[in-house]
Every structure is written in C-alpha cells, then in structure tokens.
Amino acid sequence: MKQINKKMCRSYRCLPLLLTLLGLLLADSTSAYEGKTVRLALQWFPQAQFAGYYMAKEKGIYSEYGLNVEILRGDADSDSLVRVVSGKADFGTAFLSTAIERRSKGAPLINIGQIVQRSALMLVARNNSGIRTIKDLDGARIGTWGNTFQLQPQALFRREQLQVDFVRQAPSFELFMRGGLDATLAMWYNEYYRLIAYGLNPDEMTTFFFSDLDLNQPEDGIYCLESTMKKSPETAAALVQASVKGWEYAFAHPKETVDTLLRIMKMHKVRANKAHQTWMLARMQDIIMVEGRSQLDTRLKIDDFNATSKMLLQNGVTTTDISYHEFYKDLSQ
C-alpha cells in the first residue's frame, strides 16, 4: 500500500482524487498499524522460496489478520533461528532438521507450521558421467555446499553402503560444471536451475530426489519460542494462517508474484533473475502442495518428524530424543 501511495503522489493532476484516496489509505493503514507488530526472520535472501510471506505482506493479508509483519531478510551472516532465540525476531523460518538440531541443543523453539512438506534436495549427475543409478555413485566425488545439506546424503550412502567423497565447492558450482565432480547435491528450486541457466539441458542430467529415495525431510517451517506461543497463541495462529493465504495467493498469481519478488530483490540489492524466480516459485508449489493438494497443509507429519530426528541422531548431530508433541503445535485449525 505504501507503494500505491508513492505512485499516486507522482500524478499531481488527480490531486482531488489523491486526497480522497489518501484519507482512505490513512484510515486503512492506521488500522494496520493498530495491529500487532511482529518480526518474521527468513533464513535466506529474498527470493521465491519465501514468496508466500512477501505476498501476504504485499497484498495486505497479514493486515487482514490484524498483524503488522516486519519481514527480516536473511543472508550469509545471519541465522533466522538465532534471531528468534535472541529475541531479534518473533518468528523465523527454518529447515526442520536445523530446528530439531537447535532444540536438541536447548533452544526452546517450537514448530507452529510446516510449509514445505517435501525435500527439494537432489543429486545431479551429468549423463555423460555414466551414472544411471544410485549404485553408480560408489567412489564418486560429490559436490556439497556447507554442512546443512549433508544429512540425507549421508543417510543414503550409509543405507546403500556406498563409499563417496564429499567435496565442498563454491556456490558457483563451477567445479561441477568444469567436470571436477562426478555428481553434486543441489536444491531443485535453486542450484538445479543454475545448471539449467548455465546451459545444461534437463535431458543431459540424471537426477535423484531424496524424497523419492525414502529419505524425505520436510524443509521450511515457521518457528517461534515457546514463550511467544504461550503469551499470544492467537498471534502465532494468525501469522501461520495469513502466511498460508499468502502462499495460496502466490501460487494463484505467479506472474504478479514473480514481478513483486523481483522488485523486492532489487530493493534489497539482491541479484534478481526473472526466469529463475519463476522456476523457483513453480518448484515451491511442487514441494509445498504435495500430492496435488489444492489446499496448503501446514501440519508436521509425525512420520516425517521421526524420520528426520532419526537421521540427525544417526549422524550424531543430535544426541537426545525430541518429543514431537513438545516440538510441534498444530495451529492450522
């Protein structure tokens, strides 16, 4: 709405109309600002991975739910859950595995809505590498970036009893592109598209999705502190429900959403690529609205939770069992 206001100000010719609108808008924004101000920390730069939250804010959905949401963009130096724990944010988005890990280390974080149900993590090999099945990866050099995404691959290779070398590579993925790796981990909505953007055709790549390998891990969810939940469960519920509405809006209006995101990304001086964001939004729909559902289901499935917890335990990331019921509060109703 601020955007509309700014645009209107440029057209002096319709000053009377402007004044009337201004009155209306002021009345409107007053009501919005009357709503509770909450801060939502995202785990990465603005991009279509967070389209639902940005659209909920842009389209006034949060306002409708009585919230004045301030979105805190993430970057390489800031951790969304750290912000929540430190009180710099009221709510934060994070991968399920990250959140369980933090909780096992004592952070009183709870999941109040699981947005991404399906893991976007995948293994990509070039067709000419001769890799056709998982078994062909024995002895392979596999590209990774950071430690966050190694949980499922390690579980996979342990299960398949394969010996592989993980090679940390720069986010440019050049090592893979230049043939320095046999395969690489990739997020379907991000790195996989980068390979396409580098000129590799999808039919030139062999892909393995962890969600198809019985190693699914729900990813982005909304978290807050137990205390926040206790203090104002309505606020938490409103945030989750409005965010769901935001996601639904984004999927229903992909072009508008991508354009809005590109604008926000440019505002934040983040490199913005329309084709990539379009791709990312479409993939987010694939991993959020799983199994062709028309409605967004924010429930954290107990099986998914248990499988993820088990993987974390087996990898030694966590040492204690976390209770599903303490960890997850269903606010979808």
Partner: protein
C-alpha cells in the same frame, strides 16, 4: 456506344498488366539480389567484427597468462622465502599495470607449518598505490573459493567466471589462476596457486564502443552464458543467455547460447529479438576463457538500404506505371475516337442516311485510310443508287413503250376468230407468240376480192424492235400490194422490191403467201424462203408442200417468185408456221423438229383449224417444258370446207 471492353480498355489493361508483371519481377529480382549482396557483406563484416573483438580481448588476456605462468614456474623453487614471495607478488603488479591484484595462495600448512592460511595478496587501492593484505581466515576459507579450488582440483590454469569485486570498487573482474607444484620425494605435490585479478571494465567499454548504433550491438558471454557485456545493463552478470531465452520464451536463443559457449563460430538468424527485431547473430569464441563474442545486427537496419532502394525502384516504377497508364489511355482513346465516330456514322449510313456526316480524316494512319475508304464507299453507293434510279426509269420507259408496241403489233394482226363467220367455205385460225415484247413474225388474211381469200405467214430476220418495224412495213406492203389483184409470186416480187429498196440494215423476211378461190378450192401460192407448210388432206396423212427454194424477200431487188397452184378439197387443211415451231428447244437444247410436227398434225385428223393450232401449241409447250422461248412462234391453219355446206363436201368424199 463504346462497350466497357473496347479496344482502348483492352489495350490499356493488357499493356498495364504486362508492365506491372515486368515491374514486379524487376523489383523482386532487384530486392533479392541486393539483399543477398548485403547479407553476404554483413556476414563477412559481422564475423570479422566478432572474431577481431574476440582476438583483441584474447590477446590482452594472453599477456596476463604469460606473466602468471612464469610466476607459477618460479614459485616451484623450494628456496623461496616469505620476503621473496611478497616481492614477487609486488613486482607482478608494478610491471603489469593491467593486473589489479595478485595473490600467491598456499595449501594449508604448506608454506608455514603453523599457519593454515598463507596467501599474500597485493592489489591497487582504488586503482592507485599497491597495498598488501593477507588472505585467509575462518571467515574466508579460500580453499573453497573457485579461484583456488578450481585450479587445485582440475590441476590446470583456469580463468574464473567474472565476478564483482567488492574491494576493487565494485568492478567487474576475472581471475587467472595457476596451480604450482613442488617435488616431494619424487612426487609432484600441489603447493598453491598464483592468481592475477584483472578488471574487465575495459572489455565492457570496448564492447559498448562497438555498440554505438541502435540497430546493432556486440555482447560477451562467459563460459556459462552469463552476459559479461551487453547494452542492456539489466542482463549483465544477472542473466545467462539461457535464462534470457526462458524469460523471452525464446527456445532458439538457448540453442544458439549452447553453440556459443561450446566455442563454435557461426551465424544464425533470430527473429523478433528485443531491441533489434529480426536479426542476424554472428559469434566467435575466446578459446582460453571459453567466452564468446556475439554481434547482433538488425536485419531491418542491415537491409534498410536495400529496402530504401527497393522502395525507390518501386516508386519510380509506380510513377512510370501511372505515366504509362495515362499515355496508353490517351493514345488508345485518340486512336479509337475516330473509330467510334466512324462507327456512329456507319450505323447512321446503315440505317439509310447516306448524307450522314463522316468524321474528318485527320491522320494518315489506318484509321484515316478507313475513313477515306468509307467516304469513297459512300460516294460510290450514292452514284450507284443514282445510276440505278436513272437506269430503272429508262428501262421502265422502254418496257412501257415495248408493251405499247406489243399491243400495237398485236393490234395490226387479225385476232378475231372465227374471222369470217359468214363464210362457211373455210375456217381459218392463227396464233402468234413473240419471244420478246415485240416480234418479227407476222401473219395476215383478207379477201382480195369477193372470192379470193389471201392468207400469209412471214418471219423477219432478227427479233425485237427492228424486226417488229420490218414486220409492220412488210405486212402493210403485203396488204396494199395483195389488193392490187396480182398473183402471189408477183405480190412477193413487188413487196421484195419495195423492201429491198433502201434496206440498209440488210434485214429480210421469209414469206409464204397463198390465195384461195373459195369457190373452187384452188390455191395459188408463192414462198420467199419460208419453211414448207404442211398440207393435211382430209383422211390422209399430212404432207409437206414441196419447197420452191426461192430467195428470202428484202435482200435483192428484182427477185422473181414463182406462183404455184394446188387444189384443196373440202376438209383439207393447210398448216403454215414459222421456224419458231420446228426449232423450239427444250432445256437440253434439243429441237422440236419437223418430224415431231408431222406426228402431231397427223393426230389431228378431222379437227378444226383452231383445234389443230391448239394441239400443236400444247405439244410444243410440253416439249419445251418451260425453257425460255428463243424465237417467235406463229402458226396459221387454213381449213377449206368447200362451197355450200359441209354436207356437200362430205358427199364429195363419199
């Protein structure tokens, strides 16, 4: 009067149609040929531009490559101290102004055993003084940076993808980085990499200087298709040619991009590109960097001159067409105008108005000649009609006169039958049928005295008016002379003398003249060259009266004619005729002949004079079958019945 498709219309439309086709062919041919030439020239120019740009950039990069390769070589010396390493880095910058910064980065703990990170870095502070820094910390683990990891893992020098360098004033940079090794127990062991960062702003500037015109531009792609330089700043370092292809929904661009990053050289046609529309793209690689220079040229712009030329040719052609159209229409109208006028006049003439005005024959061409011909024709027709009118009038007058002459001629011949009903001694009947209005045949009969009855038949030579005159003269003379009671021979001699006198025209007449004493039946007769008459004695076959072979009358004065005598018995008939009877012809030019006459008369025994003449006449008509009559036909039958009554005669025969 002029139909929609007159000569003018057909001439004009056909000529214009043909000239339009010719014009279209010329314009089309001109366009396609000049287009081919321009496209070929542009291809040469485009390829050359792409290649020369690629070469220019490559050459500049090559010098940096050589410098860093040699530094890497010297770094393989084991005895290098920290000071020497730092000096080496500094010297690289001093000697090579194009190098922005240079790092010599070592493997963990390989240069200093207590130090995981050892990477001295020299760079130009804001492009000015050379300053020194040490790279590497837990926050800057250079081992996982492309500039370090790629040469390490790939074991060969590499050029990194271009990147924005935050330290270097946010300039677009690329880094050349070479791994160096040392021998450890006979094994080649990686020690680290040496790098040179160079700004590629100059490349961007070079390329934008080549893109001065709106309709063409040069762009540069990195090895993964990232736009390093492009007139659209939004694309630079933000999009790859492949994401651009997707945003534009332009799959062909992706295919071209793949060829470009694969290091191919080529030309492709791309339709409907942003900025340039339908365009040609020429591309050529920078082999060491795996970059690719593309040169885009708007087809429209490229072909603008061709289009302009073509438009001008078409405009000229169009003007020519209009001029031609006007000229042809004018000429056609001028040619056909007198024709149309002539048509009007001719139609007028055809409806009978010979006084209709003919257009002036102003030209000496075919139309002029036609007009002259029409004029001549009209004059001829007029003259002809005048002549015809006169001739017809004259002919009618003559015909009328001839009709009168015929009536007169017929009037001078005794025509009333029975001629002498009071005389029962004889029965006479005659008929005449001229071949023309007037004829040269004559017959007559009259009493010369109380008992002597004269009857005659003649035939004047020739036919028509002269013959008729001669016949009239002859008849009058005969009547006058016969009444002077002369013998038939004397009468003929007298008449001959009169006719022969002053007969300049040398006409003549045959005559048979007989005088019968109706009391006795004695007949005296003479013949001037006439056909022998037939005597039909009662109850006997007909017989010819022997010819006397004497000359025709009117030729020679003084000719003497013999008078013969015979006696007719009651019931005998004398049949006198002209040669029009025996020489009558059928359509096959066969003559009726005397034999046939004899046969017919023999069938007429016991018939009256009139019946005899009628029978012969019918037989003649039947024979000729409607063929044109060639000569006058005259017949006279004199039947002697004897003195007193018929019974007396009958008695005599009993």
């Amino acid at each position: 009067m002029m139909k929609p498709q007159g000569i003018a219309f057909r001439l004009a439309s056909l000529t214009l149609l043909v000239s339009t086709i010719i014009l279209a062919i010329i314009v089309g041919y001109n366009y396609s040929v000049s287009r081919k030439i321009i496209v070929a020239l542009a291809e040469d120019r485009g390829t050359l531009l792409a290649k020369s740009t690629a070469k220019k950039i490559s050459t500049a990069f090559m010098t940096v490559q050589k410098v860093i390769d040699s530094v890497a070589f010297s770094l393989e010396d084991d005895r290098l101290t920290e000071k020497r390493v730092n000096e080496l880095g500094q010297r690289v910058l001093i000697n090579n102004p194009e190098i922005f910064g240079s790092a010599i980065a070592f493997e963990p703990f390989s240069f200093q055993h207590d130090n995981q990170y050892y990477a001295p870095y020299h760079y130009r502070l804001d492009g000015g003084p050379i300053v020194f820094a040490r790279l590497g910390s837990d926050d800057y683990q250079y081992f996982y940076m492309d500039w370090y990891q790629l040469p390490r893992e790939l074991e060969r020098p590499i050029w990194t993808e271009p990147y924005f360098d935050k330290g270097g004033g946010y300039e677009l940079m690329t880094t050349y980085t070479v791994p160096f090794y040392r021998n450890r127990d006979g094994q080649k062991v990686l020690q680290g990499v040496v790098t040179a960062d160079i700004s590629i702003s100059w490349v961007q500037k070079l390329i934008s200087s080549l893109s001065s015109r709106e309709a063409e531009y040069v762009f540069l792609l990195s090895r993964y298709g990232t736009f390093i330089a492009h007139p659209n700043a939004n694309l630079v370092m933000n999009e790859t040619v492949f994401t651009a292809a997707e945003s534009l929904e332009y799959p062909q661009l992706r295919e071209v991009g793949r060829r470009m990053v694969a290091g191919e050289t080529g030309v492709v046609e791309l339709n409907d590109l942003p900025m340039t529309g339908d365009s040609f793209l020429y591309f050529s690689p920078l082999p060491d960097q795996h970059w690719s220079v593309g040169f885009v040229c708007s087809k429209k712009e490229m072909l603008a001159e061709v289009s302009r030329l073509n438009r001008e040719v078409a405009t000229l052609g169009g003007l020519g067409f209009v001029a031609l159209a006007l000229l042809i229409t004018f000429l056609a109208k001028r040619i056909t105008h007198p024709l149309r006028e002539l048509t009007v006049s001719a139609n007028d003439m055809a409806s009978g108005n010979l006084e209709a005005r003919l257009p002036e024959a102003t030209t000496k061409d075919e139309v002029g000649e036609l007009t002259h011909s029409f004029q001549a024709m009209r004059e001829s027709i007029k003259n002809y009609i005048e002549n015809l009118t006169e001739t017809t009038a004259a002919k009618e007058r003559i015909e009328s006169e001839l009709r009168i002459a015929h009536d007169i001629q017929m009037g001078i011949l005794p025509k009333l039958f029975p001629a002498f009903p009071e005389h029962r001694e004889f029965d006479i009947y005659a008929s005449i049928e001229p071949a023309k209005e007037v004829g040269g045949d004559l017959y007559d009969f009259f009493f010369v005295d109380e008992n002597n009855f004269c009857f005659l038949v003649g035939d004047v030579s020739g036919k028509g008016v002269p013959a008729a005159f001669f016949m009239a003269v002859t008849k009058t003379l005969l009547k006058v002379v016969a009444e002077s009671r002369l013998e038939p021979g004397e009468i003929l001699a007298k008449v001959n003398d009169d006719l022969a006198e002053d007969n300049k025209s040398c006409m003549f007449v045959t005559l048979f003249l007989a005088i019968i004493d109706i009391r006795t039946g004695v007949v005296r007769y003479a013949s001037a060259g006439h056909n022998p008459p037939l005597l039909l004695p009662k109850n006997k076959d007909a017989e010819w009266i022997p010819p006397l072979n004497e000359l025709v009358a009117g030729i020679m004065e003084g000719t003497q004619y013999t008078t013969k005598s015979m006696t007719m018995h009651p019931g005998d008939t004398l049949f006198i005729y002209t040669d029009g009877v025996t020489e009558a012809m059928d359509k096959m030019n066969n003559l009726y002949s005397e034999d046939q006459l004899m046969v017919v008369t023999n069938q007429c025994l016991g018939k009256s004079a009139e019946q005899l003449v009628d029978s012969v006449d019918k037989s003649l008509k039947k024979f000729t079958g409607g063929a044109e009559q060639s000569d006058d036909i005259t017949m006279l039958a004199m039947q002697y019945l004897g003195k007193g009554s018929k019974q007396e005669g009958d008695d005599r025969w009993i």
